[in-house]
Subunit: 286 residues, 2 copies
C-alpha cells in the first residue's frame, strides 16, 4: 500500500477549510541571483509557519470521532510539534507532544500557544521514543509521525498540487529532504514533472536542523518510484541562498528551507516549496 495522487487530491479537499492557500511568489532580483525563473510556493506562510500543518491537519481530520476524542501524539523538537498541536486545537481534541528539554524556545512557545500537553525528555531518539510510548499507552492517543505516515505524506503533497494549478510547465520542483515527507508527497503530486530533493551536506551538524532525520522505508520507496534526484548543499551555499531569499524575495525562511533554494539555481523554470519560516531572529548567520 502506498500513497497515490488520488490520496493527495482527497487530502486537499479534506484540509481546504483549515489550511491557508499560500501565495506563489516571484522576484526578478532573485531570478538573477539564481540564474533561473523561480516560483516560490510560500509554505513558510502556512499556519504555524511551515508546510507541516497540511499533513498534521490531514491526519487529524481523517480520524473518526471516537479515535479523535482520545487525541493525537508525537515526539518532535521542530515544526511538526507545533503543526500537530495547532491541528488538534482546531478540531478541539487533545495533542500530546514529547519534546527534548533543550528544545528551541520559539518552537516550545508555538506548541504551548496551541494548548498541547507537553512531556519533556532527554534529547536522544531512544528517550523520545520511550517517552512517547508511555504517553500513547496512558492516553490511548494516536501517534502522528512527522513523515512516516501516509496521511502526512498525502497532506504534504497538497502544496505542490496548488503550485501546479497556478503555474504551468515547470521544468522541475525542488523541496528540502530530511525524513522525506514533503519530498515524497511532492513527487506524487508533481508526476510527471521531475522532483529534486535537496539535503544538507552534513546532516548532523548543519544549520538546517529540520533535516537531521533520514528517510523511512516508505518515503525512500516513494522517492525511488518517482526517480527523485537528491542534491547535496554545503553550508556556505545554504547561507548564501538563505540570504538571497531574505534580500531579494524579502521572505524570512529557515535554514532547512534554504537548502532547496540553493539547489534550484540554474534549473530553468523551477518551483521551490519554501518549507518553513520559523527562525530565531537572535541567531542569524549574517
Amino acid at each position: 500500500m502506498t500513497v497515490t495522487r488520488a490520496d493527495v487530491e482527497q487530502a486537499a479537499e479534506r484540509i481546504a477549510p483549515f489550511v491557508r492557500h499560500t501565495p506563489v511568489l516571484r522576484a526578478d532580483a532573485f531570478d538573477e541571483w539564481a540564474d533561473a525563473s523561480v516560483y516560490v510556493k510560500a509554505e513558510h506562510l502556512q499556519r504555524g509557519g511551515a508546510f507541516k500543518y497540511r499533513g498534521a491537519t490531514n491526519a487529524v481530520q481523517s480520524l473518526s470521532d471516537t479515535a479523535a476524542s482520545r487525541g493525537v501524539a508525537a515526539h518532535s523538537s521542530g515544526n511538526h510539534a507545533g503543526a500537530l498541536a495547532l491541528a488538534a486545537s482546531v478540531r478541539g481534541i487533545p495533542a500530546y507532544v514529547v519534546m527534548p528539554v533543550d528544545v528551541a524556545a520559539p518552537k516550545l512557545a508555538a506548541v504551548e500557544r496551541a494548548g498541547a500537553r507537553i512531556t519533556f525528555c532527554e534529547n536522544s531518539l531512544e528517550a523520545r521514543r520511550a517517552k512517547l510510548a508511555e504517553v500513547l499507552d496512558r492516553t490511548g492517543a494516536q501517534e502522528v509521525h512527522p513523515f512516516d505516515d501516509e496521511r502526512v505524506i498525502a497532506g504534504a503533497g497538497t502544496a505542490a498540487l496548488e503550485l501546479l494549478a497556478e503555474v504551468s510547465e515547470l521544468d522541475v520542483i525542488v523541496t528540502p529532504v530530511g525524513g522525506g515527507g514533503l519530498c515524497s508527497g511532492t513527487s506524487i503530486s508533481a508526476a510527471p514533472t521531475p522532483v529534486v530533493g535537496a539535503a544538507p551536506l552534513s546532516r548532523a551538524t548543519s544549520m538546517a536542523d529540520g533535516l537531521r532525520t533520514g528517510l523511512s522505508e516508505r518515503t525512500a520507496a516513494i522517492l525511488r518510484a518517482h526517480d527523485v534526484e537528491t542534491v547535496v548543499v554545503d553550508e556556505p551555499q545554504l547561507v548564501e541562498a538563505m540570504r538571497a531569499v531574505w534580500e531579494h524575495l524579502k521572505q524570512v525562511i529557515e535554514p532547512s528551507a534554504a537548502v532547496a533554494f540553493a539547489a534550484a539555481r540554474g534549473r530553468g523554470r523551477v518551483g521551490v516549496i519554501a518549507s518553513g519560516g520559523n527562525v530565531d531572529l537572535d541567531a542569524l548567520p549574517f
Copy 2:
C-alpha cells in the same frame, strides 16, 4: 487641480502591464501581536522592493514619445531612485539620478543595476537640488519628484485600489507618511474608508530613513481634504513592530514600513500598505 479617484483608476490601467499585482498577506500570530485583523498589501514585493515603482511607472508611461526620449530625472537617496531607474529602463529611456556621495550601498546598486546615469553630489538638500537643476538643463529630461507630483501620487494610490478590491469592509488603512505621496494617494483611493498616516517621532534621527522629508503643499492639502489622521511612533515601537512582522508575517520589511504596522495595533479590521523591503541585512536592529 488635484488628484481624483478617476486619475488613480487611469493610473491603475496604465501601469497594469508593468507592475506586480502584489499579494495580500495575513498571519494569525501577527494578528495576536497586533490585537487586530491585519491585511498586509505586500508592496515590499513590488518590483524594486517598494511601492515607489507604481508612481514612477505611471509618470514614465504618461510621457509623450518625444518627452520620453529625453529621459527622466530625480534626486533621491532612497527607493524612488531605484524605482525611477527601473521604470525608465522598462520604457527604454534614459534615467538621470542625483545621489549623495554617502548613499547606502544597496540603494546605489539597485540604481546601477537598472542602468541609470548617476551624478553624485554632497549630502545636502541644496546640493542635490542644484545638481539636479544642472542635469535637467543639460539633458532636457523631465523631473519626476518622489512625491510632489500628481502622476506619482495617482500611481501610489493604485496599491490601495487593489487591496480594497480583494478585502472588503476594512475599518481603516494605515500607511507610512514622509513626503505624503503614498498616504495621499491611498486616501484618494480608499475614501470613504478612513486612512491613518504613521510617522516616526524624530524624523531627522529615526531608523525610518525613507520618511525624513515633510509634506509638500499638495500632499498636505490632499491629506486635509480626506481627514487623514497622523499618528506618531517612537523608535522602540518601530523596532518591536519590525521584528513582529519579520517573526510572525515572515516578511522582510524596512524600518520606514514598520511604522505603519506599529500604528495599526488595536484598529480592528485594518489594511496596512507594506511600503518597502529594502533593508541592509548587515545592520539589523535585532
